[in-house]
Structure formats: C-alpha cells, structure tokens
C-alpha cells in the first residue's frame, strides 16, 4: 500500500517539476520551513550535499565535528526555537553516531528529523562499505522511521516525518535514503501531511474529566502541582500560569519543566526529585491532591513508588495515553493537549489562596536555605562552589539567559539555582542523562534563539565527551558562553562512591588537559578562574562579550549536591546532608 493512501495531505508546492531525489530532499526541507540543518557529509549522502551546495543561500548547513554533535545541536535548536531540529549524516558510522542523540530526543520528547544516507538499494544486505541497518538500530529509539529506496517516495515520507516529529508528543524521526533514490529523478510537488490514519497525535478533550478535576481541585485542602515539559511543548505557559494563580496552588517543576513559570513567581516552590528542593519532595507525601501536568513520573522524580504520594488523590494531565498509570496509579487521567485542557478547566475552578499550606513550603525552604543553600551560594570556605558561579551568572545575565547544562553535579546545581523569567530557557539532557550533550546543544540553542544570551554550564567530564564541537562554535562564531566547572572528578559518580561505596573512587578522578590552551587553539577568548575574588569580573567579561567565550572555573573537588533522595528511597527520606 502506498504511503499516500495512509496519510492526509495538503498542497504546498503545486507545480510539478522533474528533479533528482537529492534535490527533492532539499525542497522538502524548504517546504517545511527549515532553513538550518546540522550534519556531516560522507559517501552515501553526497548527492544531497551536492544539492546543499546549490541551495546554500536558502538552507544553512552547519558542519559539526561529529554526528553526535549534529543531533545535540538539532535538539538545542528545537528546544529554544520550538521548531523541528534536523540532523543529516551518511550511512554506517555516520548513522550510528546519531543514535545517542536520537535516544535523547526520544526520552525528552524533542521534535527532530534525522536524515541518513544508505548504500544503493541493490547493495542492501550485502555488507557493502559503510552499510549498517540503521532502521533496525534506530527503531526502539525513534517515534517513527522509514527507509526510502526510490525517489518517488521522498515527498510523502518527508511530509509524514515532519508531521509525526512535531505533532502530539513530539519525538525523533529517522529517514534513511538509499543512494540510488538520491540520484533517480521524480516528478516533484509537495503536500504537507495533515494526518496519518493509524496515528492520533492528541486525544480529544474529555469535558467530563475536566469537570471532575475542577471539583477535586475546588475541594482540596492541600493541593500540589507538579509540572513537566508538557507545559512548554504544548505552548501552555500562559494557561498554566493563569491556572496556578487562580487556584493559588503551590507548583513545583521537574527538571524539564523548568522555566515554564518564572523562578520568582510566588507560587513556584522549586524542583521535585532526587536533587530537588526539600519542601516539594517532603510535601508530596502530605498533599491531599497531586496535580501532575505534562510530566511522566520518572523514577528520578518519584523515588520509591510504594511510598510516593499514597495519601493523595492524583490528577494526571497528559497527552500520551501510554503514560497514564505507567508508573503511578492515578485517580483521574485528564488526557489531551494540556493547553486545551487547562483552558477549559480555568473557568470551573474557584479563586483561592492556600496560605497555611504554602507556609509549610516556606518553613521547609528556610530549613533548606540554612542547611544547604547558603553554604552553596555564599560559602565561608576557601574553595569555590558551583553555586556561587551560578549566582554570578544570574547577576550578569539579569536572570534572563538560556541555560544549557550537561549531566551531573553541575546540572543539578545550575538547574536549582539559575533564575528564569521566560519559558524555553532551560536546555538539558533529562531522561537519558547524556554526558556530552551541552556543548553542541548550546550551539543549537543559540542558533534557535540568536537574540538571547546562551550560557552553557558543563562539567569537566562531559565537556571532554564532545569537546570537538569547539571547532563548530569557532567556525560559526555562535556567541555561546561556555562555563566549565572543573572539579577534576566525575563529580556525581564520585558523590555516590563517597556515600554508597565507602569512598572507593573507582575511575572517577580526572587528569585534565589545559582547557585554556585548547580553547585558545580554537581561537576562542578564554579565561580561567581559581580564586573567588576573580570570579565576578570574569563572568562579567564573559557575558559582556559578543563572541563565543570560554570560562573555566576551578571549583572545590569533593563537594556534594544536596538535598538528595538516595536511589530507591522515598521522597520522605530526602537528606539535607
């Protein structure tokens, strides 16, 4: 059966022209409004690159230094711009190098289309040079994938791919194109996909569930909101804010939900999860109604499920039916696009304030400030803390930068302490925990939001996993501000070794190169700070620069991130030290 019988189409390019498959690929991208892609050329994708050369005034191709970098850059671009990120690579190793970024985009619901070249269809299965079964390899980590073996398929498959990547719960799609399909000609016209008969992007609004939710919310004495990235992906920030303000309910974020509500909002009570704030975690087990919006009850959020919010009724706003009752049994699923659901819910809820209940969050925040936060942000000891670096960044960006983080201690500290005033300002690898994500993602984030200050905060471990992308940053001159918090350790693993493995620091100590020399080797402005008195001026200089800038801050080697819920423990067992 032909793809066009399975999907619904809307005409965009009506005049039919006879062109090569490779040119059709470019024209499909242009028809989808794509003007920027990241990639790396190679044998099996060369016909497409040849067309990229011809179309370079309409379609900007950024040459990353590794295909993994192309995927993370595409992700960063998608996360700040809200558009679909595109990465392109050749067959074989080019394709397999995309897999980490695809898996990251899948678990963090990032809209991305990856294009890979493939050996000629007559060679498929012959173990030809640079042949790999990328369809087989990418199947479990893509929302959808497809192998094009003749040029005629290109327009419909691209239309379907973009529709799938960005609709409903977004995700990565991979299109593999055999070399013969790139060379062959086709009669090209382009129709946008408006539906796939076997696929339902978002369940319809359940008005009865909305009424029921309103009743539960209106009757709750100690309601608590936990929101995730669904609010951002659904473009529901305004509705969400209106809901929070009218209901007067304290709201906490998951790491991917961060920045959907300004940090300073009086009802923003902080982060939930393993290194989240004290109050939101403890009070998860005290609230009488838990309202989960666009989040998926990840194990890093819930801790031990047997002791998670057992006393509470739970409402789950969710676009993906497969997330309902997956980890946490909920009393009321509210399926659908949360922008639509929240809109219909707001008129039904009573305007309230929950002062006494909010006081509980404030009290616990005071405890956390005294036990943890003051020591992190205003340390009395000699060594620099990660927290005080964030304070300085907040000061010089006026709390309005895009924060891009990698994975580990610095990620937790940066997300805990960075100030945000607008949405789509936090780019991090949450679900997959991909070290090496931040540097290329920061490049993409900057290109997706060129008017904004983009600060990448990275650990010395993850930085070295994709350090080659300094070359891409240099070549594009994207004014990314790169801050490496160097503790000469794989800090988060070391922290676990200290706490749970009797300080046996197996392979976590790093002997690092001279990062300044490396940055300067890429002709980047670079500075190193190892004393507190130099920190603020260095951060000021970095932010004032209109070019890419590298700042290394040598921080205390064996600091730990607290609060912490040990793996498998209850949110009630959150530790302050």
């Amino acid at each position: 059966m032909k793809t066009k019988d399975q999907i619904a189409l809307q005409e965009v390019v009506t005049k039919s022209i006879t062109i090569s498959g490779a040119e059709a690929v470019i024209r499909c991208l242009l028809a989808e409004g794509i003007d920027l892609i990241y990639g790396y050329p190679g044998g099996a994708i060369m016909p497409v690159y040849d067309e990229l050369y011809k179309f370079q005034d309409q379609l900007n191709h950024v040459l990353t230094r590794h295909e993994q970098g192309a995927t993370h850059a595409a992700q960063g671009y998608a996360r700040t711009s809200g558009k679909v990120g595109v990465a392109i690579a050749t067959s074989g190793p080019g394709a397999t190098n995309l897999v980490t970024g695809i898996a990251d985009a899948q678990i963090d619901s990032t809209p991305m289309v990856c294009i890979t070249g493939q050996v000629g269809s007559h060679l498929l299965g012959s173990d030809a040079f640079q042949e790999t079964d990328i369809i087989g390899i990418s199947t479990p980590v893509t929302k959808w994938n497809y192998q094009i073996t003749n040029a005629d398929e290109i327009p419909e498959i691209f239309a379907k791919a973009f529709y799938i990547a960005k609709s409903g719960r977004p995700g990565p799609v991979l299109i593999d194109i055999t070399k013969n399909a790139q060379f062959e000609t086709l009669d090209f016209n382009y129709q946008k996909c408006t539906g796939v008969r076997s696929y339902k992007p978002a369940p319809a609004l359940d008005t009865q569930a909305v009424t029921q939710a309103a009743e539960m919310i209106n009757n709750a004495k100690k309601p608590f909101i936990v929101w995730g990235q669904g609010v951002i992906l659904g473009g529901a920030e305004d509705e969400f804010k209106a809901f929070v303000e009218k209901s007067g309910i304290p709201a906490a974020w998951t790491i991917l939900g961060l920045s959907a509500l300004p940090t300073a909002h009086p009802l923003n009570v902080g982060m939930v999860g393993m290194h989240g704030n004290y109050g939101p975690n403890l009070l998860t087990n005290e609230c009488d109604l838990l309202i989960a919006i666009g989040m998926r009850f990840d194990d890093r959020v819930t801790g031990n499920l047997d002791t998670y919010a057992k006393q509470a009724k739970i409402i789950h706003f969710e676009i993906d039916p497969a997330e309902i009752n997956k980890n946490v049994k909920v009393d009321l699923p509210l399926l659908g696009d949360c922008k639509v659901s929240l809109r219909s819910l707001i008129p039904l809820i009573q305007k309230k304030s929950h002062d006494q209940w909010i006081d509980r969050f404030d009290e616990l925040m005071k405890v956390e400030v005294k036990e943890v936060i003051d020591k992190d942000l205003y340390p009395q000891k000699e060594g620099l803390t990660m927290g005080e670096v964030i304070v300085s960044i907040n000061k010089h960006t006026r709390g309005d930068a895009v924060l891009v983080t990698d994975v580990g201690q610095h990620q937790m500290v940066a997300c805990r302490y960075t100030d945000f005033v607008r949405s789509r300002s936090n780019v991090t690898s949450g679900g997959l925990g991909t070290m090496g994500f931040a540097l290329p993602a920061a490049l993409g984030a900057k290109m997706g939001a060129p008017e904004r200050e983009v600060v990448a905060v990275i650990g010395d471990g993850g930085y070295q996993m994709t350090i080659q992308e300094l070359g891409t940053i240099f070549q594009t001159q994207a004014a990314v501000k790169i801050v490496v918090l160097n503790n000469e350790f794989l800090g988060m693993v070391r922290q676990w070794q200290q706490l749970f493995f009797d300080k046996r620091y197996a392979s976590t100590e790093m002997v690092n190169p001279d990062f300044i020399t490396i940055a300067k080797g890429y002709y980047l402005d670079a500075k190193k700070v190892d004393k507190r008195e130099n920190l603020d001026a260095a951060v000021a200089e970095m932010i004032a620069s209109d070019k890419p800038y590298f700042l290394e801050v040598c921080v205390e080697k064996e600091d730990n991130v607290f609060p912490m819920i040990p793996t498998g423990a209850s949110v009630s067992d959150i530790r302050l030290k």
Partner: protein, 175 residues
Amino acid sequence: MEKTFTISIYSENNVGLLNRISSIFLKRHINIESLTTSQSEIKDVFRFIIIVKLQEEGVKKLIKQIEKQVDVIKAFYHTDEETIFQESALYKVKSSALFEERHIQNIIKESHANIVTVSPEYFVIEKTGFRNETDRLYQDLAPFGLLQFVRSGRISVTKSKMGISEILKKFKSDN
C-alpha cells in the same frame, strides 16, 4: 497472577513494523509465546496475533505502548474465554508405517485429522484444534517415528466486535 492473553494488533502493512512491535516486548524482557501475522478483514490492513503470559496490569501497559506506534491503528487484548482460537499442526510420517501398522489409521480417524498428501516415501497429516489436541496426536504418532513435526502460532478471532473499519472511515471523512 500470570495468564495467557491474546494481543490483537491492526496495523498498516509497512516494512519494519514487526521489528518495531517486537522491540516493545524485548525492551520489557517479555517472552512472546507465539506470533502470527496476516491480512485482516480490511483491505491493506494487517493483523498480528501475539500470545503472551503476563499479569493483566502488564498486558494493559503493553497494549498502550503498542498502540502508541505510529503505524498501529489499534491494539486489543483478550483472554482465552473471549476468543475463538486454533492452532494447526503438520505431521510427516514414513509411508511404510501407514501400511504396516494398522493402528495408525485408527489414530488418524479418531483424531479427526486430515491426510494432506501421500507419496511412496512419506505421508503428511494435518490437524487443527486446541493445543491439547495437536499434542495428543503428536504423542500418539511419536512411537511410529515422526519425520517432521511443526505447529503454527495461535490464530484467533474475538467474540466481540473490533470496530477498525469505523476508525478508518472516520479518518477518511475527517480529511
């Protein structure tokens, strides 16, 4: 408690979908007892019948993950009581056994099996039914020497209605 469930999937007939569906089981370390695919009652729509032994909670989650796949139109699960199901088995036996051992003819007759083909060297018997029926015939024939034995995966239809045509019709009228 673990039970046998029949998972029915209606899908597009696209290359790679079997891999996508089986990877859902693999990711969760779930063994597939049997799997058959074929054309369904609707033109261009394929049907998978997958048998698993799971707790109902687990099979519910599995169905949602399967249905989430773009090329899957709809997935269902049913218990044995809710379905009419059969398996087919083929038994290849030496022809000499048929003529030398009278008893074998009685076995075939009593089991309501069919003789599919007879040649001077071998003959092939077909039996369709429940697992215990094809098993019994296997045990009865084994002493005479089975040259080959093969059994299909379960095929089944449900007692209740599936409603796939309505979904496809609705898509057509909406677009």
